[in-house]
């Protein structure tokens, strides 16, 4: 991918109006290169989730500019008419809990995204199986989500996020329910996937176990971001 993975300039988000207005984000700037994994950390109420929702095109920022790859998607207003298609094709999501669709087996949970994008079922399932194998859960392709361990479920969720080869993945506390060993394994996988698929990954976390693994960390406090160089662990 050319250009940035994702770049945010002067992004702000205000909830409410007048005396009751709350500035959740104030002049946020952030850049994540393709193949890079950055951490976004901050205390509760600092604006992490608001930032993630803005990046995920789920809520509309108040002002600012967002660029995905070399395309401006927001500049004081959405520049993309179909946000649903934007989320489906160009942004991957990994949640705190895996939130796999319980009535679909593992392979279809992953294949669902390409299918939603209009790709043939066979091609979608082939792509899903490749990703599952890359994440070492290919042997559970036909299992139901409820039959997987927590770590396996999270790896399937990562595979689903990668299914449409998005330039950016937003991970919302993906290691929260996992023990240290599995949490570090997930981060390792995210790093590996970022490099393998040239994807920019933003990991929102306050999991102390994984914070040292990021090369770059953005702190967010009172709606403002501060960059810090980390000590990435291999």
């Amino acid at each position: 991918m050319d250009g940035f993975g994702i770049r945010i300039e002067g992004l702000s988000k205000r909830y409410g109006e007048g005396d009751t207005a709350v500035d959740a984000l104030k002049d946020v700037n952030m850049t994540v290169a393709p193949g890079e994994v950055v951490g976004l950390i901050g205390p509760s109420g600092s604006g992490k989730s608001t930032l993630l929702k803005c990046l995920g095109a789920v809520i509309e920022p108040t002002t600012g500019k967002m660029t995905l790859g070399d395309e401006v998607i927001y500049d004081n207003g959405w520049k993309i008419p179909d946000l649903r298609a934007l989320r489906r094709d160009r942004i991957g999501f990994v949640f705190q809990a895996p939130y796999l669709i319980p009535f679909l087996d593992v392979i279809d949970n992953v294949a669902l995204l390409p299918m939603l994008a209009g790709r043939p079922n066979g091609e979608s399932r082939k792509r899903a199986l490749e990703l599952l194998e890359a994440l070492d859960v290919g042997h559970r392709a036909k299992a139901q989500p409820s039959q997987l361990s927590g770590g396996e479920q999270q790896r399937v969720a990562i595979a689903r996020a990668l299914a449409n080869q998005p330039p950016v993945i937003l991970a919302d506390e993906p290691t929260a329910p996992l023990d240290s060993e599995r949490a570090l394994s997930v981060v390792r996988i995210l790093n590996q996937m970022a490099q393998q698929f040239n994807t920019a990954i933003i990991v929102v976390t306050h999991d102390e176990k994984i914070i040292p693994t990021f090369k770059r960390i953005y702190h967010i406090r009172d709606g403002k971001t501060f960059e810090e160089k980390g000590q990435a662990l291999s």
Binding site: S44, K48, S49, T50, L52, K53, G56, V58, I59, R84, A85, R87, R88, D89, F93, F95, Q96, Y99, I101, P102, F103, L104, D108, A111, L112, L113, M115, L116, A117, N121, Q144, R160, D172, E173
Partner: protein, 397 residues
């Protein structure tokens, strides 16, 4: 694209099947109610068909003999036979009463008829027709009587010599056919105490028991005890004659009322069973509303149980119409299971109903469409809830 609804149904099939069975039993009751109405209409038509008549001649200003009581003299049939276009005419009586077999009573419509004339039971499934002038009977199988049974009608015992089928009154009571004279006696003859009382009253009446007029009292008493009335005359018109023309002749010259088959069908269906039909229609409406409420509640509850999954689906770019389609298909799936269970249930239990239940394929087809429409409408509540789910709820915080 995979069928999300199909997968969800397969994933939680036991919940769907159990809910479908519950809904199906309700649909079965609805189909049965419609079948009860159809059965009533069919009974009415069977009653007319089995009589073999083209015209019913009854008392003037009445809608007899089925919807209202009618009483005419039993020699009226002779004047009918003299009319142009009449091929056959015969007296009949109809009286719904309790017929006793041993210690049990069976409610039946007792029909008095003349053997070989209109009004005779068309075909028998066992035994023979009545050949004696008195004390033989042909009964519908729904009475539960067997060949050779001795049944009591008023003061006399009758031997069941034949059995027939689908011979019921418009009210669904099975018919018992007996000779006309016996039926007249059963319908019009007074009991012994009443006869004695009547004789004493007549004898004590100086107007009716005049001195010096021999034979007057006896003649009056004989007249009082005679049974010369019937309920109707059944008329068959000659080939080429039009029943309405003959009916007009009867109305104009004979001071009697005459109904054609079409008019009699109208009386039976539109008047006699109209109240029952409205009652059933009310039940059908209530059952439809209850079914809709149940489907709406179930689908709504199932959708609320998937709010997080729906939020995730919306966040990852699933179209609203895909989600709405999933819920709609589930509602229709539930309706399909319910309809199949309902149809099978209604077919299984219909023969056990005391009255005839006629399950018509057309009603089943209409019922299926109505169930599907109700399910589709009922799913709108759940679809509305699903479309209001904010995809942002999938992201914590």
């Amino acid at each position: 694209m995979i069928s999300l609804a199909g997968r969800d149904i397969l994933h939680s099939w036991s919940k769907f099947v159990l809910t479908g069975i519950g809904l199906g039993l309700l649909i079965g009751v609805t189909l049965t109610m419609a079948g009860v109405y159809r059965g009533m209409v069919d009974d009415a038509k069977a009653l007319l068909n089995n009589s073999g008549a083209d015209l019913w001649v009854v008392q003037q200003d009445t809608q007899g003999p089925y919807a209202e009581s009618s009483s005419i003299h039993d020699d009226v049939y002779r004047s009918m036979l003299s009319l142009s276009g009449v091929a056959r005419a015969a007296n009949v009586t109809y009286l719904t009463m309790q017929v006793r077999l041993d210690n049990t009573d069976v409610r039946a419509m007792v029909v008095g008829f003349e053997p070989g004339q209109p009004g005779e039971p068309g075909y028998l499934i066992a035994g023979r027709h009545i050949t004696r002038n008195h004390y033989e009977a042909v009964a519908d199988v729904k009475t539960g009587f067997q060949l050779g049974d001795s049944i009591r009608i008023r003061r006399h015992d009758y031997r069941v010599v034949g059995l027939t089928k689908r011979m019921v009154s418009s009210g669904g009571d099975p018919m018992v056919f007996i000779p006309l004279k016996d039926a007249q006696e059963a319908q019009f003859l007074k009991d012994n105490d009443a006869i004695l009382n009547e004789r004493a009253r007549t004898t004590a009446n100086p107007t009716l028991n005049r001195p010096g007029v021999p034979g007057l009292l006896e003649a009056i008493q004989a007249s009082q005890n005679a049974n010369r009335n019937v309920n109707a005359v059944l008329v068959q018109v000659s080939p080429g004659s039009h029943p309405e023309t003959v009916a007009n002749e009867v109305r104009r010259w004979k001071h009697l009322q005459a109904f054609t088959r079409l008019q009699m069908e109208e009386i039976l269906v539109s008047k006699l069973i109209a109240t029952s039909a409205k009652q059933i229609a009310m039940f059908l409406v209530i059952l439809a509303v209850v079914s809709a409420a149940i489907v709406a509640f179930i689908i709504y509850t199932m959708t609320l149980g998937k709010i997080r999954e729906i939020a995730v689906l919306k966040l990852i770019g699933t179209r609203n119409r895909t989600i709405a389609g999933m819920i709609l298909q589930q509602a229709l799936g539930l309706g399909l299971i319910g309809f199949l269970v309902g149809k099978v249930s209604a077919t299984v239990w219909a023969p056990f109903f005391p009255k005839y239940v006629l399950l018509e394929p057309g009603d089943a087809a209409r019922g299926f469409v109505v169930v599907m429409v109700i399910c589709a409408l009922a799913s709108t509540l759940a679809i509305r809830a699903a479309l209001h789910v904010d995809p942002a709820t999938a992201i914590g915080g």
